[in-house]
Symmetry: C2
Subunit: 233 residues, 2 copies
């Protein structure tokens, strides 16, 4: 936790906050905060600054906060991700949030197992985005939207979402290399383990997506997302 | 497992292999391999090709293999990584192997907790590199060396290791931006959670390392490694 993310409900007064629960425990056991210590804080959707610990009691800790700078710039990227396996979901989402992606669609695809859609992990996505922001010292929560039907999403919604952006789909074996150092917004689609099937790639190409390759290596989704984002921006 | 990695001991004859244990189980339960099926295989340190299943019995499966191509090119990168927390060790190492890094030093640093060096995970690193190679369809195992003393390593060994390469240390807050699309070999040092301390950065600078920044976001080590590699190569 490199930044303590504060929410509206934490504020007792304009510059006074009260931490409880997970954040309190982390601050006491990992940061070992004592009276007078200063910690990096940020307000959800807002600015970043310092919080000085002014009170510690059994179930809460209070800080006086001074917010004096903006959070890191968001990535100009919409990520369209085939729903990952539940086992990797948490770290994919926390990783994506830490990288600064602000809009994510988790979509169905032929090779997404149906059971993934009933994973309880899908109810904990917001918590994972908070962990990612705390890691990266960011305050702006990404939106994460679920789309259980591939074709209606790609045909009816995605053209509008991707309009005016560089639209790419990561596809091992694509003839074109993944571009570098984009100076424009992008929409990036990443398939499931085993990749999108040919029909799905064709659907994406029809609405203007270019299949691009990262080379012959097949990477796990969390590694691929970070490597592609590192390359694009 | 996008490639089944074969070892010398698996060969019954020049083109005939016998799988047992973890790989057998994976091939039977995940690939659901049947007689006559073809699977992607590769020989440790050698070529890649196809294996045709010619026999399945209770405790083993046999394949006839034909190896006809080289594995993906290695990354021209030596990675010097502060020993990660045991909890993330496995996926850091598997990720690094999947990205094609062939030489890794896990080193001590001020902010590496001493207890990390007695983690049982350190005895399972080879297994994790195999999982990374199977993911990325590679066959060449990286070497992973442990160095428990920072200064002797940096002062006595690292200058030779880094000679003739672009030597970089990832350092949040560095004035210089991390370069892109290197056309030369590199040596990349990445610190522990919380970063290298100033004295460590100074030691690395003295032997020719340049501190470079990836921007204001602090990333988890596995995310940072992939993002930097995606950017460099």
């Amino acid at each position: 936790m490199n930044l303590i993310l504060l929410f509206h409900d934490d504020f007792l007064a304009e510059t006074r906050v009260r931490l409880t629960g997970r954040r309190l425990e982390h601050v006491l056991t990992v940061h070992r905060a004592a009276l007078g210590d200063e910690l990096t804080v940020g307000v959800e959707g807002g600015r970043v600054g310092r919080g000085r610990v002014v009170r510690i009691d059994g179930d809460a800790l209070e800080m006086e906060v001074a917010l004096d700078r903006d959070p890191p710039a968001p990535l100009p990227l919409v990520l369209v991700l085939a729903l990952p396996r539940p086992k990797v979901m948490n770290r994919v989402i926390a990783g994506v949030a830490s990288l600064g992606v602000k809009r994510v669609f988790l979509i169905n695809a032929w090779r997404v197992e149906k059971s993934y859609w009933s994973s309880p992990r899908l109810r904990g996505l917001r918590e994972q985005t908070i962990l990612g922001l705390e890691q990266a010292k960011d305050t702006v929560l990404p939106s994460i939207e679920l789309r259980r039907l591939f074709r209606p999403f790609v045909e009816d919604e995605l053209p509008t979402i991707a309009r005016g952006t560089r639209a790419l789909v990561a596809h091992p074996g694509a003839a074109e290399e993944c571009p570098r150092d984009l100076r424009e917004p992008a929409t990036l689609a990443i398939g499931p383990e085993g990749g999108f099937i040919a029909e799905e790639i064709a659907s994406l190409e029809r609405i203007g997506f270019t299949p691009v390759s990262l080379g012959p290596r097949v990477l796990r989704v969390e590694t691929a997302v970070a490597a592609i984002i590192g390359r694009l921006f």
